[in-house]
């Protein structure tokens, strides 16, 4: 029997590669740290029912050590990750990291970082694939295949002009009232918004079920999205991992931290070396090695392996991430209204706004979060808390947040390296934004505020939050795919040009980063590689 394909990591890329390979009859061994959380509690309860029925709701919502409590003086975001997702960001002590100009997030969870995603599934269009050695038509069948696997809601609307319609889309969920009001406002001012701002608006494309799929139920509108969908209606990669595990040819070993791979004299990866939590070292022979540990972890494994073979670890140039802007707003038409917590909580509406200088589109996703905890927001209002609570009652139904993604491109000054002078070796990331970024961000913020104003919404400038680079967790670009073989790149099928049987199926291989969530493209590309290269 030949050695199996070894896949490192169980995130969005790894599981979709694995499933496609299994369906082709290949043997797959997946090695993973694989932290897991707790099973969903009281799956039939709505969020408010949980507050009534759980014996200790504060422990569920704030955490047993109050780790999701956001006190004044805490830096950063408008909400904390819920305790139920704590396992997603639990670190491994062996993984040391130093970053400059970058705030990286890593995951060693089963399912990876996308266990906490918000489900946005936006295909890259022809223009956004311009730097890739493949055309949209080559990727389209895999977008459709992934859409059929995971269930993606969407509609044929104005956004289709920049978000290609692919197979496998299912009908959208019921709109919450606020999202419906926003879309209604857009329809009334559509011509003006299109003409003045190049602004298109429509239904978000989201990995959530509006009808049952396999053993997954359709969305029950329980309002629990932030805390973890209890019935599998909202897609996360751990669902595909579970599907992979039904195949006899699939072996999943968790609790393993992959350190490096060894190469034979022909320069092929012949085995993978991993450490278990008890300190034991394990070695697995590999037919082919598929790095799907996420751009940062894959870079570390690759650099560590090269260093062990050659005594040198090069710098991987061109690391990218989407700069994100969070823009809270108040919809004046919704002021004072009551609101329904039993709704889908993530994006229901999306924007695409043309950039004047490039002609490309920036994407904004609108969340009308109703069931997020309010204490992180109320304390940011310019009042005392009592007035803030009262104001919030009048504004709750009217609140929304636009999450704006900016594109990024590979630039030589941004790199990942391995510091071999420390023990264990430490990954170093250095990122410097483009010189014109501040003025571009300013212009983007101004445009989105004006668009929101046209829609009857007010976005206070002091609440706009430009997230630190690294916060969007859309890392990519360190060993890009290219038509021209060169060191530290990979082929169109993501095969390394340095190590013959090594493949990068995560963001590592992306030569460019569109202004949108890359996860759907990661899944489609990983499926493509499994289908076409194996």
């Amino acid at each position: 029997m030949t050695d199996p394909l070894i896949v490192i990591g169980s995130g969005a890329s790894g599981v979709h590669f694995a499933l496609a390979a299994l369906r082709k009859g290949r043997r797959v061994l997946m090695l993973d740290v694989g932290h897991t959380g707790q099973d969903a509690v009281r799956p039939g309860d709505t969020l408010n029912s949980l507050k009534r029925n759980l014996p200790d709701p504060a422990a569920y919502f704030l955490g047993p050590r109050y780790e999701s409590l956001v006190l004044p003086g805490a830096k950063g975001e408008y909400y904390a990750f819920p305790p139920s997702k704590e396992h997603v960001f639990r670190r491994r002590p062996e993984f040391e990291l130093r970053a400059k100009g970058f705030s990286p997030l890593l995951s060693f969870a089963a399912g990876g970082l996308a266990e906490t995603w918000t489900g946005g599934c936006y295909p890259f269009n022809e223009s956004e694939l311009g730097a890739f050695p493949l055309r949209y038509a080559e990727l389209a069948p895999y977008y459709a295949e992934v859409a059929e696997r995971i269930g993606i809601t969407g509609a044929e609307d104005d956004l289709a002009a920049v978000l290609p319609l692919h197979g496998g889309l299912i009908e959208p969920l019921e709109l919450d009232e606020h999202s419906a009001v926003l879309l209604d406002s857009y329809q009334r001012r559509r011509g003006r918004l299109n003409e003045n701002f190049g602004c298109l608006m429509g239904r978000a494309r989201v990995a959530v079920l509006s009808r049952a799929l396999g053993n997954r139920e359709k969305c029950g509108y329980l309002g629990r999205c932030l805390w973890g969908c209890p019935n599998g209606a909202f897609y996360t990669p751990s669902l595909t991992l579970a599907e992979c595990r039904t195949y006899p040819a699939f072996q999943y070993i968790s609790g393993l931290y992959v350190d490096h791979f060894r190469m034979d004299s022909a320069g092929r990866a012949h085995s993978v070396v991993a450490h278990s939590t008890d300190g034991q070292t394990h070695e697995f022979p590999a037919g082919a090695l598929i790095l799907a540990a996420g751009t940062l972890c894959s870079a570390r494994i690759f650099l560590e392996s090269l260093y062990r073979e050659t005594g040198k670890a090069p710098e991987l140039r061109g690391v990218m991430d989407n700069r994100q802007i969070l823009m809270p707003f108040v919809n004046m038409r919704m002021l004072g209204r009551s609101w329904n917590p039993d709704t889908y909580q993530y994006h229901q509406v999306a924007f695409a706004v043309r950039q004047e200088n490039t002609g490309g589109y920036i994407h904004g996703l609108v969340t009308t979060l109703k069931t997020a905890l309010i204490h992180p927001l109320v304390q940011t209002l310019p009042f005392d808390l009592g007035t803030g609570v009262s104001a919030f009652r009048n504004m709750h139904a009217a609140l929304g947040m636009v999450n704006i993604n900016s594109p990024d491109h590979r630039r030589q000054e941004n790199y990942i390296a391995l510091d071999t002078s420390s023990t264990p070796h430490r990954l170093e990331i250095s990122y410097c934004p483009e010189s014109g970024e501040p003025s571009r961000l300013k212009s983007t913020i101004r445009t989105f505020r004006e668009i929101l104003w046209e829609l009857g919404c007010f976005a206070p400038s002091r609440t706009v939050h430009v997230r630190p680079m690294g916060a969007s967790v859309h890392y990519a670009g360190t060993l890009p795919m290219t038509d021209k073989p060169a060191p530290l790149t990979c082929s169109k099928h993501c095969r390394s040009h340095d190590v013959e049987n090594l493949y990068f199926v995560d963001g590592t291989a992306f030569p460019d980063l569109a202004a949108k969530n890359l996860t759907f493209t990661l899944m489609a590309n990983a499926t493509r590689v499994a289908e076409e290269a194996f």
């Binding site: 709701p57 704030l62 409590l69 004072g336 009551s338 005392d384 007035t387 609570v389 504004m395």
Partner: protein, 154 residues
């Protein structure tokens, strides 16, 4: 950690924020949080913050004044943190979360009027709180400076 004082704080804050007494469940978590954070709270202690906390625990009216002052001049103070903790516990707990979620059911114009009225009340509370607390803060700061400069005292 003085349990009676902490309970008094929690009651005063809950009445101030939602007009209701906290349930024993909320008080239990309020005490538990302080037990877990005891060492950090001690190291963060500051005479004026302690004063604001003691005053705010007396009754909801003083909680409001202390909060109004802290919202403008001491955003990261202990009293503000305790109030946010109370709010977080109230929004997770049965009964009190419904009080927080309840909307006034106003029209957009009515809602704007209410917001304006709230802002006016806040301005008044802030003015009163400055008149009351700014002199206390100045006196406490002066006495702290004097102690620090006295020979033989750290």
């Amino acid at each position: 950690m003085n349990t009676a004082q902490l309970e008094r704080e929690c009651r005063s804050y809950a009445r101030y924020l939602i007009g209701q007494d906290p349930t024993p469940y909320v008080i239990g978590h309020y005490l538990e949080f302080h037990r877990q954070q005891a060492s950090r709270a001690a190291s963060d202690s500051n005479a004026f913050d302690d004063f604001l906390t003691r005053v705010s625990a007396q009754r909801p009216f003083f909680a409001r004044l202390a909060d109004a002052y802290a919202s403008a001049f001491r955003k990261d103070s202990a009293v503000r943190k305790k109030l946010v903790l109370t709010l977080a516990l109230l929004e997770c707990a049965p009964l009190s979360f419904e009080a927080l979620d309840r909307t006034d059911g106003a029209s957009p114009l009515g809602a704007i009027a209410r917001l304006g009225w709230g802002a006016l009340q806040y301005s008044l509370a802030l003015a009163v709180s400055v008149a009351l607390f700014a002199p206390v803060r100045a006196v406490l700061a002066l006495s702290a400076n004097r102690r620090a400069t006295e020979p033989g005292k750290p």
